[in-house]
């Protein structure tokens, strides 16, 4: 049987959520690349074109979910990589809070950006 190489503790909650978000991201990241590089092209990007896409509630919701899952998957991956390298105790807790704060900032800024395109003014 093959060896198991992973930064995650097998069967743990962080491992499970990493897999659940991965299954979603595999499809949505491929869709994102396809839509924004092959259907629409890099040299055609404009605020108005992004606005038209974000006006569609389904697309807007998908992008918000994409932002949240990608942030979780990325930050959870970084955290587990560091834990796998031997991060423990107070430093582990400090890294965790820094990563949680960075994630919250990223999601808030991402939502503000999506709202700017969609014409929603919440904050």
């Amino acid at each position: 049987m093959a060896e198991r190489y992973s930064s995650f503790e097998e069967g743990g909650t962080r491992w499970l959520w990493q897999r659940i978000t991965a299954a979603f991201l595999v499809v949505v990241l491929a869709f994102h690349f396809f839509l924004l590089h092959f259907v629409n092209h890099a040299y055609e990007v404009s605020f108005m074109a992004s606005s038209i896409r974000m006006d569609n509630l389904l697309y807007y919701s998908l992008m918000i979910l994409f932002l949240v899952t990608a942030t979780f998957h990325g930050v959870n991956g970084v955290f587990n990589a560091l834990v796998n390298q031997g991060l423990t105790g107070r430093r582990k807790r400090a890294v965790k809070y820094v990563l949680v704060a960075a994630s919250v900032l990223l999601i808030v800024q991402g939502v503000r950006t999506a709202n700017a395109w969609a014409g929603i003014s919440l904050f």
Binding site: M1, Y5, A22, V26, Y43, G74
Partner: protein, 140 residues
């Protein structure tokens, strides 16, 4: 049946000559993951220029708002387009190897996990090479 192995530290890259397909897959997945999470933060930062552009209807209609200008300036640079091809390579490998990991975790295709790693590499190369014309379109 599960077995435990003393794989030593994969993080000890001085042992790279001893690395097997599974270890290379682990190294590449981790590397591409770090690149993607770094890019995610950069991506949202650059796209955030849309927040400043919003509300300036006249500039948006004339396509000279800050967001459109920043993105179109970046996209006019050959180096940015080449970096985008690199990003595609990183993302495609992470997606394909991620599918491989999902299958491995479900216990599917364990015996062929080395072959599926090579297949991920070959498929990544093929998709990236085929995408180069689209990614460079309009830059010259």
């Amino acid at each position: 049946m599960s077995q435990s192995y003393d794989r030593g530290l994969v993080e000890d890259f001085g042992r790279w000559k001893e690395f097997s397909a599974g270890m290379w897959a682990w190294v590449f997945h981790k590397f591409t993951g770090w690149v993607l999470v770094g890019y995610l933060f950069t991506h949202i930062s650059v796209l955030s220029t849309a927040v400043s552009a919003a509300g300036n209807t006249r500039a948006i209609e004339a396509q000279n708002d800050v967001y459109t200008v920043v993105i179109s300036t970046l996209e006019s640079l050959l180096v940015v387009r080449i970096l985008e091809v690199g990003l595609l390579a990183v993302a495609v490998f992470h997606i394909l190897n991620g599918c491989r990991l999902l299958l491995v975790d479900l216990g599917v295709g364990l015996d062929a996990q080395d072959k599926s790693f090579y297949a991920s590499l070959v498929l990544t190369g093929a998709i990236v090479v085929a995408s180069v014309p689209t990614f460079l379109e309009g830059v010259f």
